[in-house]
């Protein structure tokens, strides 16, 4: 098992899958010579040529729509959005076309399309380059949604995404690219969708978090341990399908639930988890679950302001204290 970065894990799986299946190709802005802004396709054009590592014009609707068309016609495209914020530029192609094609055409279309890109804060990219938009993709049915938090998950989930015969939206986090971890060398290593992972076991409070907030939740758990509160940290890994069972089971044990993500809190996916798990485990709840997410304002440029908008480790710790009444 090699220790590689999250960005390298993604690059590795793209390359392996392209070697394995000539229908797989990558298209997006600056994926060729630049290898993507975060190097996730660095130098791949040298091995695969510019036909399969394909620079596009700055035309996101055409990129995603062409991915859909090519998938319907027998290819297995990976369409890259440089920032997930740009999903709004091509939202019709995602939500009205990709999401609905198979269903409205009576189940006759098979759409092995991956749309991937990065999102989130941490680089002072401001309001239109720092959002976390995955909740919307869970709201509009028709795409699977993956959110890897570690290099191994990035590799394992991306392979599943590429091999899936359905459209998958794959959310990377820009602040995670440089994080490192062990990734199995096996070019068949994959992680099934819909299986949450317990990142840390605990008995007093359940914290559910994704992407960058997995590590923040773990930091919070460390803090809480000092105060004698044992936190269980669950990473759902995919939002569609969502593994409510693992969270429910944990809440039956802890009786307390905090969900935290970088996406905006209002109507964020955490509210859904609280509502669904609240329904399943109501009698086990000792306190009202707490939902943390970005405040209802655009992400500001200034780093301190940006941090003030998204939940801090302290916010998570405080929420866990609150649900624990201590």
């Amino acid at each position: 098992m090699a220790v590689i970065s999250y960005a390298q894990a993604i690059r590795k799986v793209i390359a392996e899958e392209m070697r394995r299946d000539e229908r797989v190709f990558l298209m997006g802005e600056d994926v060729e010579k630049l290898g993507g802004v975060f190097g996730t396709s660095r130098d791949l054009f040298k091995e695969f040529g510019t036909d399969r590592i394909r620079n596009t014009p700055i035309s996101e609707s055409a990129i995603v729509g062409a991915g859909l068309g090519a998938a319907c016609a027998g290819m297995r495209p990976i369409a890259e959005l440089m920032y997930w914020d740009f999903a709004f530029v091509c939202a019709d192609q995602i939500f009205n076309q990709v999401c609905k094609t198979r269903y409205v055409f009576g189940g006759n279309a098979i759409i092995p399309l991956v749309i991937r890109g990065q999102q989130g804060t941490g680089r002072g990219n401001a309001a239109t380059h720092s959002q976390s938009v995955e909740s919307i993709f869970m709201h509009i049915p028709g795409v699977k949604v993956a959110c890897p938090a570690t290099p191994a998950d990035a590799a394992g989930l991306l392979r599943t995404a590429i091999r899936d015969d359905n459209p998958v939206c794959f959310f990377e986090h820009k602040a995670l690219y440089i994080t490192k971890g062990e990734v199995p060398d096996d070019p068949e290593f994959s992680i099934p969708f819909g299986e949450a992972v317990i990142r840390r076991e605990g008995s007093d409070v359940t914290i559910v978090a994704n992407l960058l907030y997995v590590s923040r939740a773990l930091e919070a758990a460390d803090e809480l341990a000092k105060d004698g509160i044992s936190a269980e940290v669950i990473d759902p890994r995919t939002l569609v399908p969502f593994d409510y069972e693992t969270v429910e089971e944990s809440v039956r044990k802890t009786g307390r639930l905090v969900v935290v993500h970088e996406a905006h809190q209002v109507n964020g996916w955490g509210a859904q988890v609280i509502t669904e798990v609240g329904k399943r485990a109501f009698r086990y709840l000792d306190a009202a679950p707490i939902h943390l997410g970005a405040k209802s304002c655009p992400l500001p440029f200034n780093l301190a302001l940006e941090q003030a908008v998204i939940p801090s480790v302290k916010d998570i710790v405080d929420a866990c204290h609150a649900v624990s009444y201590r």
């Binding site: 190709f25 036909d51 399969r52 596009t56 014009p57 035309s59 609707s61 055409a62 995603v64 729509g65 062409a66 991915g67 859909l68 068309g69 090519a70 998938a71 319907c72 016609a73 027998g74 290819m75 495209p77 019709d92 192609q93 009205n96 076309q97 609905k100 094609t101 198979r102 269903y103 409205v104 055409f105 009576g106 189940g107 006759n108 279309a109 098979i110 759409i111 049915p141 028709g142 699977k144 015969d165 359905n166």
Partner: protein, 321 residues
């Protein structure tokens, strides 16, 4: 060039479309059909002349006004009508109705109820054909109104840069819903926009089968040569309102009458076939009878088909393998 066999195919296809659309109209007035229904009557020459040059391996994308394309691309009238009536036996299990109808097995990547929504998809299908080194093309049908959507621009630019085997066919029927082209569109001939993408653009009489046929033949040849896309504008007119409930306050009845009487693509084609001595009147009459019978059976089939079972409403959101 249109030979006898093609001529008969085109004539039959136009007839099928006409029968289908006018039957749909009747069914709508009888309350047997509902939803947003946009009829293709009057524009038959475009779909028929173009699809006569396509195989099942060639793709099309279509629009909200999609019955004509669907039939010309090989759909059966019965399954298509069943879909319009929301029946379980319809092409899309009653889920799509008129606006999203498609027979994927025939290379029809679907009607699209989002104006301009199909252009990127067609472009991608052509990209696949090129990457797979297939000797096939994709035809993207859309309206004059759609030519003002951003997707028009992005798609054609992409296809031109990548030299994709796609032919963009704009059916300019003078209106986008109730808005005349002059009020929405900054060029007289939409084909002029080809200049902005370094590709050929051509405007033809969309009610003249031969004109459409020849223009498309040139475009297809170019596409297969690897030289990239072409933009063809077919000037035509829809006989019916924009949708079945359209009060049509925005256009002159006389103009519509004139199109119906003097520029009916089916009559014009019959005259042309006669002039060329290509197909006998008797053969054409036989087609008329056969199509009428086919249509009658389709109505019977659709009306007697079962409603879909709501227990399966969640099927097919995802492919389960």
């Amino acid at each position: 060039m249109i030979d006898e066999k093609k001529a008969l195919w085109i004539y039959k296809t136009m007839k099928e479309i006409r029968e289908f659309e006018e039957t749909a109209w009747t069914l709508f007035t009888e309350n047997k059909l509902r939803g947003s229904v946009h009829l293709y009557t009057g524009q038959e020459a475009v779909a028929a002349a173009i699809c006569s040059q396509l195989t099942d391996e060639d793709y099309i994308t279509s629009t909200h006004r999609g019955h004509g394309h669907c039939i010309a691309k090989g759909a059966r009238l019965d399954f298509a009508l069943a879909e319009l009536m929301g029946k379980a036996t319809g092409y899309c299990k009653g889920r799509s109705g008129s606006m999203h109808i498609a027979d994927f097995n025939k290379g029809n990547l679907g009607a699209n109820a989002i104006v301009g929504g199909g252009l990127p998809i067609a472009t991608g299908a052509a990209l696949a054909q090129k990457m797979q080194k297939k000797n096939h093309v994709t035809v993207c049908f859309f309206g004059d109104g759609a030519s003002n959507q951003g997707t028009f621009h992005e798609s054609i630019n992409l296809a031109s840069v990548w030299k994709l085997p796609v032919i963009y066919v704009c059916e300019n029927n003078e209106f986008g819903m109730t808005v005349p082209v002059s009020q929405s569109t900054s060029v007289r001939n939409i084909s002029d926009r080809a200049k902005g993408y370094g590709i050929p653009g051509e405007t033809v009489d969309g009610n003249d089968v031969e004109a459409v046929f020849d223009a498309f033949a040139r475009a297809k040849e170019r596409a297969l040569r690897g030289d990239g896309p072409t933009l063809i504008e077919c000037k035509t007119y829809r006989w019916r309102g924009h949708w079945t409930g359209d009060p049509e306050t925005y256009r002159d009845r006389e103009v519509t009458e004139e199109w119906r009487e003097k520029r009916d693509p089916i009559s014009l084609f019959r005259t042309c076939l006669k002039a060329r001595n290509l197909v006998s009147d008797a053969a054409l009459d036989a087609v008329d009878t056969a199509v009428a019978e086919e249509m009658r059976k389709a109505v019977e089939f659709a009306e007697s088909s079962p409603e879909p079972d709501a227990a399966h409403v969640m099927d097919d959101v995802f492919y389960e393998g």
